[in-house]
Symmetry: C2
Subunit: 245 residues, 2 copies
């Protein structure tokens, strides 16, 4: 592990432990540098991690302050439903309901950076959390990854992990659009809710390490089952609000 990551970890632990309660000031860079016997630049890099996590606020001239004390998840947990579930102490399940190939629509072609009409693989999965159905996933895979996806166990828990182990594919980058929609007939039946009841929708496009789009998906969470959490500040943020659709 890098030196700055170690220092960031120590500081994070101290914050989570309550050594630096919310609202308190963090030691100065000079203080931390001497305490960890590191250069100031290294300490700055460590603190930058906590700032990015939203645990610490910083502004020029003033001591840094603690904004939060909850450890946030890493992206791996975010992206892999199963791994996220495990990390927060829940049991994830999955089941493929449908899987077939068809030509891509124009909008899918754009999102997956393929030629319109090129064949894609469509997979519908129902995901459970502690046995309860909470999520309907409708995923469109680019054809170059389709064979590997079709070989997966229909009840496979973590698609992300299986694909990594099978072909070394890493889901590295994601773009997400989040809004609310009414449950359609199929959504309602699968999730055990009434038609028209509220669902949290997450449309995402996932890209490999090399920048190649892998999949785009329409995920619908039953209301009350899952909440997205975000921390941000006037500087540095990745959340955007958009009008309409």
């Amino acid at each position: 592990m890098a030196r700055y990551e170690h220092i960031a970890g120590e500081l994070r632990d101290a914050i989570v432990r309550g050594d630096y309660p919310i609202g308190a000031q963090l030691p100065t860079e000079a203080e931390l540098a001497s305490r960890f016997n590191a250069a100031r630049g290294t300490v700055r890099q460590a603190v930058a991690v906590l700032v990015a996590e939203g645990l610490v606020g910083t502004r020029q001239g003033a001591r840094r302050i603690v904004l939060g004390s909850e450890r946030s998840q890493s992206f791996a947990e975010l992206h892999s439903f199963a791994q996220w579930a495990r990390s927060v102490g829940h049991q994830a399940g999955g089941l493929v309901l449908d899987s077939h190939r068809r030509p891509s629509t124009p909008s899918e072609a754009v999102r997956l950076a393929i030629t319109p009409g090129e064949e894609v693989l469509v997979v519908v999965r129902l995901r459970r959390l502690d046995g309860e159905p909470v999520l309907v996933e409708r995923t469109v895979y680019a054809s170059w990854i389709a064979p590997a996806v079709e070989k997966l166990d229909p009840a496979c828990e973590s698609v992300t992990q299986e694909l990594y182990e099978a072909v070394g594919l890493v889901f590295a980058y994601g773009e997400h659009l989040i809004d609310a929609v009414a449950a359609g007939a199929e959504d309602a039946r699968l999730l055990g809710v009434r038609r028209g009841s509220p669902l949290l929708r997450q449309r995402r496009t996932t890209t490999s390490q090399e920048g190649r789009p892998v999949e785009c998906s329409d995920d619908r969470y039953r209301a009350g089952s899952v909440t997205f959490s975000i921390r941000n500040s006037t500087t540095a943020n990745s959340l955007v609000r958009r009008a309409g659709d």
Copy 2:
């Protein structure tokens, strides 16, 4: 403007302009350093900005690649409904429907870091976008800022901006919980939708520059009116998925 900000801007423009299309490689750090006549560290800082914005992907050993070409909004737009609306070419409106003081509930006291039972100011606002009602805001303000809030024009467009001009308050940090809920009777009436129809809910707590909680709010968007957009990667992210409530 800082040197690295200038370089970041140039690169961002080049990407938006299409000089480096999605999937293309960015020049190496050495190349950029000589082109901008800057030290490598400065170039790294510039590129880090684009990486944080999700426009560029990076991994050790390989050239950086372009992931997206849309300019994302700054946090000011995120947080101030009116300013965000203006920046995307829409007209925002607001109207205070109710405003009264009452003792804080225990959970509000925790979120605002005040003593339970201490008086707070509750304001209900209906927000419009191009004349259409799209958002019901139920905001709880800590008592120390309440007088300034009560002095605001009920039809005030941007609360954030007015408070900044009036008392120099800056909304610097925010924590957000996003999920979907069914419209209650009041929500439905105000937004002109049916009871039980889906709403996108954003619960947020806002903190001043100094780390002092200012307000917490329950904002409900009419389905289809607004979408949240997020970019992230395996490294560095601020989005967390949570189970239940």
